[in-house]
Every structure is written in C-alpha cells, then in structure tokens.
Assembly symmetry: C2
Amino acid sequence: MAIVVQKYGGSSLGTTEKIQNVTERIIEEKEKGQQVVVVVSAMGDATNHLVQSARDISLHPDARDMDLLISTGEQVTSSLMSLALKERGADAISMTGWQAGIQTEESFGNAAISSIDLTRIHQHLQKGKIVVVAGFQGCTSSGEICTLGRGGSDTTAAALAAELKAIRCDIFTDVDGVYTADPRVMKNARKLPSMNYEGLLNLAKMGAKVIHPRAVQHAKEHQVPLVVRSSFNKEEGTSIHHHHSVRDDSSAIGLTFEEGLSRVRLYSSDGEPLKSSALLQLLKKEEVTIKGNQVEADGSFTVILRNEDLYQTLSCFNRNKEKIGIGRMNHSTGLAAAHLVFIDEQSADQFKSRLSMPTELTNTDLWPFSSRPEVYSVLVDEKQAGRTCQILHDSCVESCLDLQAHIN
Amino acid sequence: MAIVVQKYGGSSLGTTEKIQNVTERIIEEKEKGQQVVVVVSAMGDATNHLVQSARDISLHPDARDMDLLISTGEQVTSSLMSLALKERGADAISMTGWQAGIQTEESFGNAAISSIDLTRIHQHLQKGKIVVVAGFQGCTSSGEICTLGRGGSDTTAAALAAELKAIRCDIFTDVDGVYTADPRVMKNARKLPSMNYEGLLNLAKMGAKVIHPRAVQHAKEHQVPLVVRSSFNKEEGTSIHHHHSVRDDSSAIGLTFEEGLSRVRLYSSDGEPLKSSALLQLLKKEEVTIKGNQVEADGSFTVILRNEDLYQTLSCFNRNKEKIGIGRMNHSTGLAAAHLVFIDEQSADQFKSRLSMPTELTNTDLWPFSSRPEVYSVLVDEKQAGRTCQILHDSCVESCLDLQAHIN
C-alpha cells in the first residue's frame, strides 16, 4: 500500500480548533486508500514560550537541557492530533521522535538524523492506524533527546518519507506554495506551480521560510516528490520533483531578504593583500556565521555578518591585528541583503554577466557581494530595503514565471 | 557517599522564579556532601492546562495519548530546574522518567513502577552531578510512556529513594508537614512532628493531600525515612519512620474530609437479605469507585459513592433489579464524609467501642459508615460538614497530640 507523509507546521496548529480542522485533510488522504504518516510541529508559539522560560532562568542555557525542554512542544501536538483524529472516527497513534525510531547524532540543538528504525511505524500502519509523529526531534543511541534545528519538522517529514519510500511528502504551511518572494511581505509575489529540488534548495538556503534546506536535501537524495501547500485552503500548491528543464533563461526564480546585517571592512597594514582564509578561520573558531565575504578591488577584505555577531567579530580581529597584518578597520551596521536566487550557478553567471541595474535603482547605494554561486546578493541600507527588493523582484524575477508556466 | 532524594511539588514550582528559589535548598544539601537526586512535578497548573487542551478535543480522551501529553509537564520542569541549578554554579543533569531508568507496567494513566535501572543515575551522581528527574512517569519495556496516577511524583521520589538506598527522601510541598487536618481549611490543625509509615499511609489513603499512599507504601517497604516539609520555609516538617510506639491511646491521628458524595440505599424485593457481594461486583464492572458500603440493621444495603457516579449506579441497579432481587431504592446526594483516621485497626476499634458523640453534634444528622478498618467515617449533609469536621477534629483528634509530643 502506498504511503503518504503529511507535515503540518506550527501556524497550522496554533489552537486545538486548528488541530481539529486539519484532521479532515488527513482522513481524506487515508480514505483514498493510502497509509498516512503525519508529522507535527509545536503549536503556534509554544516553542517560543518554552525558550522564553529557559531564558528567564539562564541567558546561555545548556543545549542538552534545552532539547529536553523544547522537544515537549511537538510531543504535545502529536498526542492532541491523535486525540482529534480518534474523535473523528479515525484510528491513530501518537509518537515521540524516539518512539518513531528516529535516531540522531549527538549534537544538541542541531542534530542530523543518523538512521530511522521503521519497525514500530510499520506495525501501526499495517494495523490501519494513522501514525502521528512529533517532528523536530530524535534520540541518540545513548538515549539523549536531540532536536534537529530550525525547520526540524520539515526534516523529520522528508527523512521519514524517504525511508518509508512514500509516494509523496506534503508540507502543509500557512502559505499555499513556494512563491517568488515571501507573499506575506511582497504582495505581487507569484506562486511557482512546480520546480525542481535544486531550485527549492537554493531558495531555502537563502532563507525562504517555506521549507528547511535539510528537508529538501533529504527529499532530493531519495527523490521523494514534495508538495508545499496551505493547510487553510485546497489550492494546488507547489510540486517539487526531479525534472531537469532545459533552460535558456537566466531569470531568478525568487528573491529572499535578510535584515539585521553588518559589514566589516579590513585594510592591510603593510600593503600586502590580507589572507582571507586566515580571517575566515578566525571567525569560524568564534562560531560567527559569515553571510558573505569578498576581496575588494582595492585589496581590502569585506565580511558580512549578523548585527549580533558584530562586536565579537571586531574584538576578534582586534586581538589578531598584528598576527594577520590588519591595519585600518571600519564597519557599518543596520544593513539588509536582497538575494536573487537562481536555479543553478550557470543561470546566475549568465545573469551577473549581463546585469544592468534597473534604472529605478540607479540612485540607491547598493553593494553587490558574494554569498553563494547560485545567488546574486546586494547589500543595502535597511531603510531602502523594501523598495529595493520590490524593484529587483519585479524586474529580475517576474520574467521567469512565463518559463515556469511553459514547463508545466 | 550518602544519597538524598528531594521531591518538589507543583505548587513549589509554579513559576520560573519559584524554580530558581528552590535551587538553594538543593545546593545546600549537595554542599553537605551528599549525592542529590531531585524529583520534580509539573509547574503549578501545567498538568491541568494540558488536560484541558485534551478535553477541548475529546470528552473521553485515549489514555495512551493522554500520558504522552501530560508527561511533558514534568519534562519541562526537569530541564528548567537543571538550567536553574547550573545558573547557580551547580553541575546538574535533567532526565525524563525513561532516561532515569524508571520502567512501569503498561497501564496508562495509573501505572505502577515495575523496576528501576539506576545505571545512568549512578553514572551522573558519580560525576558529581545533581540528577533532576521528571516525576510522575516511566516507560514500559515496549517503549510506551506511562504516567503513575495522582501523586505520581511522590511515588517516583519514594521508589527512587528506595532503589538508591537513600538515607532520606524529602517531600517538599506547600504545607510544612503532616497536620491533624488540612491546615489550609482547618485553622487549628496541628502539625505532627513525627509519625510512623502506617499512620501516614492511613491518612494518605483517606485523602490527606500531603502525600500519595503509593509513595508511602514504597518508603515503608524499603524503610526509607521520609520527611514532609515546606519548600517555602525552613521549618522542621514531619519525619516519618518505622518506630512502633506502644500506644495506650485511642485518639485519631488526623481528620480528612471529602465532599461531593451520594448515598444509595437498596431494599430487598422479597424480604431475603440482599447479596452485597453481587451488588459490589456489579459496580466494580461499571468501574464505579465505592467509598463505603454496609448492611443496615433493617437488612437494607447502603453504598456511598461520588456524585458523578450516581446516575450510572442507579441505572446499573435498575437494569439488574430482578436478577438481584432489589425492591425499593432511594438515594440522597450533596453529602460529605469526615474520616477520623487512626494509627491502626486496633486503635480505631477501641475508639468506636467507647465512642460517645461530642454533645455539640447531638442535633446534627450524622450517619456513621464503614470505609476502612482503621477509620471512623461519618456522612453528613454538605452544609453541616465544616462545623462537624471542626468539632470532630477538636474533640477526637487533638488529644493524641500530647501523646505524639511525648513520643518525640
């Protein structure tokens, strides 16, 4: 019998009423004759509340305690969802991550799934039950509860779908598909009816909130068809599969956006070019996430990072000034990045080679920088960010939709 | 190294601030050179909130789902407590029931502990850590999470103390010891400085909320010294141990109280005495809890039960009227019971044999009934209950305290 995995995000499950509402979708799938595994996130703001309780006690809470704490959010939803399904007459069973056989590496707060023992899930599916699994969590071989990091329930769903050889993995969320930009922010963002794994992976890596990159990676590796769709309506959503379209187009497939960034620029003390690898190594040791970096035409070196990492970074560079040969340093903060995301590196290169900025942006202070090969990123003052994103989206993304429509 | 188990109830842990407050007591114990295991309940009303979420969805929620749901309450507290201890500089580790090795029978909602594997707890204690265990829960051999029923965290603490051969098990609660009556209700209730297991067991079985009978039973069987004390002050509390005092006194050791009761009286249809065992068997099948029963002087049979079970009981008797030979039935509701609890059956018998009701109660309609051999119970109209309890307490309990003081 074919297996379908459905994942419901926190915004679809914010109240007990919302939980009851989505049971219809689940039972519908079951009644089509499929075996159904449901993966649930924590209800609405539940995780944030748990994190806040911990922060009331400790500013730097222990990662192991945190995982024990926040994994309860999904456990609560799985049992409530199972109750709601039973109340509608379906047979269901709730499971924590470890009960569902999800084993992880020991890496609190951001563990990867190392293996899945499907014995119990198969037992229950064979009895005709809908299996409801708490997402975002698993257990190490030594019995430690680990969570899977941001978007972890997506990862649970995709990994289970891969392991179960599911015919489909539905990601139910509060938007009805993958859009060319976040539709909650950019009103004329358009839904992509279908795309391939690489495209979604690129969007997800650049911060598109619709799905977590690790989940897409799982789906891609095991060629599990993904569908991103809304839990609030019956729109078709976006289908993600493995088709390779021959593209003669270099339009971006989407635009993502990131606030709260800072830029640090370093000049050499002796005229010799700065060793960028040594600089990046220093920041890696400090566990600072580098959003972008590049060597400028004048030999100076620029790093983009989050505002909250700025002072740690400056202090780190300052301590290592002489060792690395850093002379002058300057920085600016309150910046945002707009990322034009392409289907692949080749499309991005084509775009970059023939790019002429939209005329509406000629008076805006934009600073292009390297983030990833398949992305064209510009840094801009936060105050200019909304307008810049809108113009970039409308002039550099829109055209690709005709092609997309053509493919489907 | 000696081990001490400390259990903190939900009212001691109602907020993150309260959790932080009790860390001092725990660290104090550790600094005396003991190894410390802390057992925690869910925070304040957390369990009630979880139960309410389930009831929003289902009036008769599945017991397995419920256990998965409500066990999260204690899991949350254990991680927050561990964080709070670390924040004060202590080394601590949080554990769920199953991580702490607590194995239960498969009986959702009211499981008994079947065994405890102390390997992980000992490992952490040997590393000098304070081990914080989520109370009220365990796991079956097949990996199902079960809760231990009402007062389950007391049971976890006493069972761990027994298995760890702890030198003491402290039960921290919102009253500072075991009283002759609930001190929140009866202002002149007096604290018992010490008592034996049997006495506390009898009080607990009759509804004294200070500790759960199953926990006392564990402590008694393994002779773990228990101390019931307040988490809000440093009062000595009540010590419970194994001493057998020679008693020449037949005073009650305490008074407990129960509202919301009904009484059903059945008359035989043919003058033959009713078969009480058959009647009780019927109610057992219906899972009705019988609070008391007795054959009256006129041959009729009386059953005391909770108001919420009344209509189910009447309907059950009605269905079996002819089979059992029931003639007339009558019932009254809105009743309360006062229980005078004795140290043992012998003391209770002495009391009963020479009882003359306090003169203040001669005009009150009291109906003595059999509940347990070591208890003298009277049923009274709920409106009279407060006054009746007060008089019974003051005249039949108070005198025992002199003896208690003498023993200590």
